[in-house]
């Protein structure tokens, strides 16, 4: 609707109105605004900044929702590129044939049904306190994050982007794309095990052995649980794994989950142990039908119509 409508327009003053909102349409325009206003905050979907969970944004706000380049999705034989400001709903609508099963399984767990038209994957991983399921799934998928600044760009692997020290994002930099390699993993699982716990695992089997495996647990904290040494030990093991091997591996995951840094209760730790054991047992089965329910081509009609790409 045009601002100067001929019909009766109700005008309401707002005495608190202060910080301007900028909606750049190109990345160059965004970088120009970031340079001229270093104090400005960036909002992709705006759901965190305005939810009352974060610090109230003082000063100018730069909204990314009109930058077409950040809302694109593309897929080649080797990888899937997702623009940082693509909404969860838009990603979900791409469908399970285009998305890796771990990603299509984790999207409904990232935010409530009604928020999927607003919330974005890029925003989810850029907020240190919030990203839980998104980070875990992207770690299991071996995703890369494209970070750009004027005239420069770099790709950062997900574990380095969100390491123990915080986000690998400097001033004047913005996350523009997330690249998910479409490696030939023949098993991919995402399982939400409660409000604070999610299980993501991907594996490739070859000639009865484990050729590659990644097991990542999302926690209710900014950190994830992933043991690369354990993964390296599992690579090359013959399938099916013996009960003792499975128990030892599951116990190692459970021991990591028992750390004080994670808000897990005994039931969560039991779930982490049992889902890991279940996954490892199912890897040895010729059929993958025993895997947790989000495996494979999931009928993902979730939120196809339930949200709005504003």
């Amino acid at each position: 609707m045009p601002a100067s409508d001929d019909r009766t327009v109700k005008r309401t003053g707002n005495e608190r109105a202060s910080g301007p909102i900028y909606t750049p349409e190109t990345l160059n325009e965004l970088f120009g605004l970031m340079r001229s206003m270093p104090e400005a905050r960036i909002a992709a979907g705006g759901t965190y900044l305005l939810s009352g969970a974060g610090d109230p944004p003082a000063g100018p706000l730069l909204s990314l929702h009109r930058i077409e380049e950040l809302r694109r999705m593309s897929r080649t034989d080797r990888h899937l590129d997702i623009g940082a400001a693509t909404s969860i709903r838009a990603i979900t609508r791409a469908g399970p044939k285009m998305l890796p099963s771990i990603l299509s399984g984790c999207l409904p767990a990232i935010c409530p049904f009604t928020l999927r038209g607003l919330a974005t994957l890029g925003g989810n991983i850029c907020i240190w306190e919030v990203s839980r399921t998104g980070t875990a799934a992207l770690n299991a998928l071996g995703a890369l994050v494209e970070i750009r600044r004027p005239g420069k760009g770099r790709w950062v692997p997900m574990p380095r982007f969100r390491s123990a020290g915080g986000l690998s994002l400097e001033r004047e930099e913005v996350v523009t794309r997330i690249r998910i390699p479409l490696e030939p993993h023949d098993v991919g699982v995402f399982e939400s095990l409660g409000p604070n716990l999610s299980f993501c695992a991907a594996a490739r089997r070859e000639k009865g052995n484990i050729d590659d495996i990644r097991i990542v647990l999302g926690t209710g904290t900014p950190w994830i649980i992933r043991d690369r040494e354990l993964e390296a030990e599992l690579i090359g093991r013959k399938l099916p794994m013996g009960p003792r091997e499975i128990e030892t591996t599951a116990n190692r995951i459970a021991t990591m989950a028992q750390s004080d840094r994670f808000p897990f209760n005994p039931l969560d730790i039991y779930r982490a142990r049992s889902v890991t054991a279940h996954f490892l047992r199912a890897l040895g089965e010729p059929s993958t039908r025993f895997l947790p329910r989000t495996y494979g081509k999931r009928k993902n009609s979730l939120a196809r119509r339930g949200g709005l790409d504003l």
């Binding site: 309401t12 003053g13 910080g19 909102i21 100018p60 929702h65 928020l115 979730l302 119509r305």
Partner: protein, 170 residues
Amino acid sequence: MSGSESPPISRVSFTLNGEPVELDIEPTRTVLELLRTHFEVPSMRRGCCAGVCGACIILIEDRALPACIVPAYRANGRRITTIEGFRHTREYRDIRRAFHEVGVQACSYCEPARMLIVQSILSAGLTPRSEEVQQAVDAVKCACFAGPAMAEAVWEAAGIRNRRLHARKR
């Protein structure tokens, strides 16, 4: 400033229940705050303010969204409908009848949100998938007894609306 192509937004205009409105905003404002403070919409309840409880659900272009999480500037140029505006439509009467026939006993706190959610499902199509229905119904967190019958009410409302539309064609 180098980025002078897009001037900053300082005013926002949208249609609220069919009436065009325009007002100043600031970045921290959400649609919920606007509707409560400037338009005093009675059904706008402040719940979790995190988009989880569903108490403040409104329709933006026929999609159900929690008003507490939608930034005001994202509603610019859109059509917003609250239960006050929706109450005068035939679609409302279909859903009302379905609630009555199925026996949905929603409390006054969550009923507006539940009705708007049903409307958003049915506006997307009269044959919704059961998975979608269940997810949408679960979007409202309330301790009243409406929950279990809600999915059935969605199907019932779809049937009522279908019959009405077919009767009109004949």
